[in-house]
Amino acid sequence: MSDQTVLQLSGIYKSFPGVKALQNVAFRLQKGEIHALMGENGAGKSTLIKVLTGVYSKDAGTISIEGKTVQIHSPQEAQNAGISTVYQEISLCPNLSVAENIYLGRGEGKFVSWRQMNKKAGELLDSLGIHVRPTQQLASCSIAVQQMVAIARAVDMDCRVLILDEPTSSLDESEVQKLFKLMTDLKKRGVGIIFVTHFLDQVYAVCDKITVLRDGKLVGEYKIEELPRVQLVSKMLGKELNDMEDIKDEVQTFDAKKAEPVYEAFGLASSEGIEPFDFVIRRGEVNGFTGLLGSGRSESVRAIFGADKATSREIRVEGKKVSIRKPIDAMQLGIAYLPEDRKRDGIIGDLSVRENIILALQVKTGFFRPFSRAKQVKFAEEYIQKLNIKTASVNTPIKSLSGGNQQKVILGRWLLTHPKYLILDEPTRGIDVGTKVEIQKLVLQLASEGMSVTFISSETDEMLRTCSRLLVMRDRKQVGELTGDQLTQSCIMNTIAGGGAK
């Protein structure tokens, strides 16, 4: 490749109270290159992106675009400089229409021709293969579609640098392929793409180069063919990693006949439109719901927890007939639920790590029995240590933690209630390899101690590693149950697709 540097960052420093987020970081992006930015949670990827897009102001360092040094003080300035971003968490306006979101803040004149705008948006969406009406309200679209709209918006802005911050974490396989095709198209047009993801497969599928960050420092820039996966992972973690191989050996064979059922449902359905299904989970069992995005995985577990309005013929917990109408009913029966959308359903942003950890248990204990401050701190510190949560203190607002650490806080919140049955909906979404392995190990450990766990993940290999039984969903219906020898990638794919094992 000739020297066609489109973006160059050098000597970037950024610190927050208590944390040096970036120290002397350099980064170089060339025209028509897809460049992966890799690192664990808290390595500084998101901070670097935010410095680049003007969300944060840097403490020191220079940014130059096509050789010219630029000062970026706001996202608007970044946009004008030709840097477009699609963030990890969707940052569009859910109450506006798809077309409005695409053209928001970009009008040249004072007047808007709605018809023209909708028409243009429709053409753009068609060309990208996104099936959504331009006039549809964004909030009514699935997360995947919202993400695609965010990408469409970025693509439509005539950008030289496109930053994709975890764009694929909520897309299913076919949508990911669409996105990759789009990325390759853009690459041919000479756009430089910075791709932040936790999926190693995807990095090796599309990227040309990898830059690795660790603890806010630059580890190095590598050509993709010169850096095998194992080395990439060890560079990210700063140690040799064989955890990924280890974990499989720890799966204990689960004997379904010996264990008594913890939770049983007959004819369970919910207002979200899943077909009535029967479901049982036994003590110490780890099972999973799998299927394509929108197949009803999340809706199934939400029905179990009472998060959506659910109906059933009968529900039994430990053999006793019970009724679960709202989340508190499920909590009192020892069921815990870690939701899919961390930002919307999981964290209480402005409250501290301590308050976020004690919340569920506190609600369970009751209005008139608050924990003393000392006890709260003790609980919080216990789980900060147990789950290795990186936070400045127990009183830090949870919103200032990195995604993976927020997830661990929510996990800690539910573990603190000592549930009999723990439901984890995409617990590893958008978090780094190291933490993923930690969470998987934790799930297996909890199960060996007698907890029942339902584990949902978009990554099939993760589910194969942890679950001893998989329920396959298609079109909001349970279409298969896989155990033992059937637990293979191909078997799952076949069942999802509609052939093969039943």
Binding site: S15, P17, G18, K20, F305, A307, K326, P327, I328, M331, Y337, P339, R344, D345, G346, I347, I348, G349, D350, L351, E355, L359, A360, Q362, V363, K364, G366, F367, F368, R369, P370, A392, R413
Partner: protein
């Protein structure tokens, strides 16, 4: 690394919410010292009943500020849980006062002796105001109407309802026992509302200390969806804050009519809702809901009253008062905005660690 983690104490101080009302208090005090120190004079004189009582501007601040502080307690909770304010507290206070007058006068136009036990009148007025609060709460929590719009109904209708309760008669009750709550307890020179407010503060402190009200209200105010998934009932909690505010309003309404001995439906507690909302804002609480700081709100209420009294002392005309107040309030609210506070604390941080980082490098 260490110098980075240790914050400049002054900068850290500026992040504390309660600093804003304290700073406003100091500013007003300095202003008054420069203007006229006689503002601070407190004298002991005999009131009409022949009891020695304290008088002076500061006593007036404590006296009238107490009403505002009681309202600020409820307003803070409503603001935190619902992300909006109740603008009907003045109107509801008149309803509460009117109920008291109706019961104590027994339907007569004037009464030298109360016709019913005062405590009964107080309890019924609490129920009436809590019912108004429940109505507002239902509009907001069940029907999900914006708080300001929902309470606009009661704001508009409240004073008419209050008049209707007593057939628009201006009742006078001259029983000295009734006047105690709004004026003085015989033999004690400090105004009674101060003690009533103290009792309210203690009860509030105890509720926040011995229940989870604070946690629940903040959780619901910050993220309703998450709160529900953690077993809370956001509808009930929002509703509850309005009922609690109703209780605060009842206490204020009772003090108001006790103080005056009569009731004028269109004047009593006029504009008090704005002062109560300002108290919450001046306390540094986000009017969009979420986290709150109760002591800061309470202090904010007294500062607002301090401002009003200062303006009166400057002989600002009553009709011009709101305009003067607005100017001061703009300054206070802008100063307490998180953005300004951040930059002020940033300024202090820059000023002193300049030496520290110089040494480190």
């Amino acid at each position: 690394m260490i110098s980075n983690q240790k914050q400049n104490p002054i900068a850290a101080l500026f992040r504390h919410q309660i600093v804003i009302p304290i700073a406003a208090l100091l500013l007003l005090t300095i202003f008054n010292v420069l203007r006229d120190t006689s503002f601070f004079e407190v004298t002991l004189k005999n009131n009409s009943a022949g009891n020695p009582v304290l008088a002076g501007n500061l006593i007036s601040v404590l006296d009238n500020g107490s009403e505002l502080a009681i309202l600020a307690i409820g307003m803070t909770l409503v603001t935190a849980a619902c992300g909006g304010q109740d603008i009907s507290v003045g109107a509801t206070a008149v309803i509460a006062g009117s109920v008291v007058m109706r019961i104590l006068s027994g339907g007569e136009a004037s009464a030298d002796v109360v016709h019913a036990p005062i405590i009964i009148a107080f309890l019924v007025c609490c129920l009436a105001a809590m019912a108004c609060g429940a109505f507002n709460g239902m509009m907001v929590s069940v029907f999900r109407i914006q708080p300001m719009v929902a309470t606009l109904i009661m704001f508009t209708a409240g004073r008419s309802i209050a008049g209707w309760i007593n057939e628009n008669k201006s009742i006078a009750i001259t029983d000295p026992n009734f006047a105690i709550a709004g004026t003085f307890i015989p033999g004690i020179p400090v105004p009674t509302p101060v003690f009533i407010a103290l009792i309210c503060f203690i009860i509030t402190w105890a509720i926040l200390k011995f229940t989870n009200l604070g946690l629940y209200v903040q959780a619901v105010g910050i993220n309703e969806k998450t709160s529900r998934l953690n077993g809370l009932n956001p509808t009930l909690i929002k509703f509850g804050t309005f009922v609690l505010l109703g209780l605060c309003v009842a206490v204020v309404g009772f003090i108001k009519v006790s103080r005056n001995g009569t009731i004028n439906y269109s004047v009593v507690a006029k504009d008090i809702e704005m002062d109560a909302i300002l108290a919450v804002a001046l306390g540094g609480n986000a009017l969009s809901g979420g986290k709150f700081n109760m002591p800061a709100s309470i202090l904010g209420a007294y500062v607002i009253q301090y401002l009003t009294t200062t303006l009166y002392a400057m002989e600002v005309q009553a009709t011009a008062l709101p305009a003067y107040k607005a100017v001061v309030v703009i300054a206070l609210v802008v100063l307490s905005a998180p953005k300004v506070r951040d930059s002020v604390s940033g300024l202090f941080r820059k000023m002193s660690p300049a030496k520290q980082s110089g040494g480190a490098a």
